[in-house]
Amino acid sequence: MKGVLEIQRGALGEEPAVERFEVEFESGQTILDGLRFIRRDQDETLAFRFSCINANACKECMMLVDGKTAYACTERLKEGVTKLAPLPKKLLVRDLVTEIAPPDERLELDS
């Protein structure tokens, strides 16, 4: 099967740009699988967070999937277009990565 991921990209302070990636997948595979395929086969600079891969334990891969907050590791890939964007209410780092750590776990660079 084939799907298209339209991904909002760019770092904080940059004009966001949407890039399209075609992804081949098997039934049951997830958005996170698709993002990892893209890094391996098309663009290794794509930034997204994940740690536990597909167990939904670390809760790091939260993003907007077709406008709704979801975990990339449990949301399935589908045929047609899926739009991905960073969480809107968190500070953007780059691409799909936002600052999700509690404030007391962050490095304040001016300190």
């Binding site: 770092a11 904080l12 098997e26 039934s27 049951g28 595979q29 997830t30 990892r36 890094r39 391996r40 086969d41 290794e44 600079t45 794509l46 930034a47 994940f50 740690s51 536990c52 891969i53 597909n54 167990a55 939904n56 334990a57 670390c58 809760k59 790091e60 975990y71 590791c73 449990t74 399935r76 780092v93 780059r94 691409d95 990565v97 600052e99 999700i100 750590a101 007391d104 776990e105 962050r106 490095l107 660079l109």
Partner: protein, 562 residues
Amino acid sequence: MHLQADVLIIGAGAAGIYAALEANRAGASVLLVDRSLIGRSGATVMAQMTVAAALGEREPDDPSFHLSDTLAAGRGLCDEALSAMVCEEGPGRIRQMDEWKVGWARDGEHIAQVHAPGHDRPRCVYVEVLATGPAVSRTLRTQLKRTPEIRTIGDLVVVDIVVADGRACGAVAVHMASGEIVTLEAKTVIVATGGLTRLYRRNSASSNMGGDGYALALRAGARLVDMEFVQFFPIGHLAPRLVGMDPIMWDPFRYKLGGRLLNAEMREFENDYRNADTRSDGKYLLTRDLATYAITQEVAAGRGSPAGGAYLSFQHIDPDLIRKTFGPIVERLEANGIDLEHQTIEVAPIAHYHMGGVRVNTRMETDVEGLYACGEAIGGSNGANRLSGNAITEAFVFGARAGQYAAARAAKLNTAWSDEAARPILDMMRSASPGSGRNLAETLAQLQSLMADKVGPFRNEADLQAALGSLAGLSEDVGERPQATGQPFDPVLLDWLDLRNMLLVARSVTTAAASRKESRGAHQRDDFLSMDDNWAINQTIALREGKLHLGQQVPNDKKVPA
């Protein structure tokens, strides 16, 4: 940026957090860093399984019984002093976690204890339903929040430990979000980075378990031990596709309900592989190394399932009982299209845990003054095969110990920080360039396939030598100068740093495996089928001028460095 603390702890899973809490309690200033989020990354949060301790809640038990099972599973290679520490101090830590409201499952008024394979009695506690790891992580994060004196920093990837005049005096790290290089000055340093399962294509751990701590310790001058012993979990989920669950989740189903392991002929085969030292509880027959062997042999003999494993069936079990025991999980399975009443699933061995690791004494000291290690990152307590349930227990016990000893030592030391000693690492980081155009994410996938195909649970000389050749080639491709894009949260730089560590660790595993010409525990060779008494020794490994050097030691030799 330059940060200072008495004790620097690298890795914020159960071992690292316990170390931080105890070092703080001992009066040290503590800096706890993790490459990912604090208390959410690594193996702890993934553990849906059970935790072993001789609590004696369900029937009388004693740490000596637990020790005897641990040593038997370790096939003669355990460092008994370390194993004994886990068994003796485990119950206290389990009860402490209970006071901290982790929520161990109850059996009436008692903490429930189940009988896991390799144990002589019910000894393993858990949190319902399949929630042990998340509950442990949440509980420890709460303790951290109650201890604001501990400074925690996430998204900080440690590149190397700084060693000045033979003493560990801090580390150099890169902050993922900004790309900023950060120097961390400390009187003592604790490695709590977990294991190396990410070296393998199919694994049960998170993406940050690439063996960082082993590589950090080797480059700092410390020896590793037992690196050939990678535990494969026999019944990792294989098919159909399952997401939102830990792939080793079938184990508790088997503890509680039974569950038949079948080959392509739909015949149970575990009994064919039983041997004398396996204790059976009637439901669940084989320890992990033997079950891995059994499934792999069935597949090799052409009796595997379509996806290349074995079938696991619960069809003979009353569906109401399954639903009663695992209600919420059954619903998650249904969302994945899996109906246990009407279908079998496929399972296969999956890289799960590393018995080997940094060589320490009972004070958790490595060969390098001021450098400590704890948790899965150390080797010795599990010998050639880990007993199920011991991983979280050892994370608590060794973590707490490391924190105490590192804090006590730090109180007696002045800083040994040296800009001069940090400079080569800083120079390396500053030499980063966009690189050759090689896709490192693809290289990483190649490494995982290579390790799975050639250095998996079953090994032989030809495969291991081929792997060493391929690893040398990959190391050359990756080079000694970092690849980076220069952008915030740079996954290219992270892949390069990971490959630098993973390749060194993969070489360590493969070198030790090629040297050990016998089969023992998790190290099985099809060209040396049986256990050889002459090999009742541990192999150590050291890095000198870019080359790995193997050594040997008799288990349980006194090894407190002078």
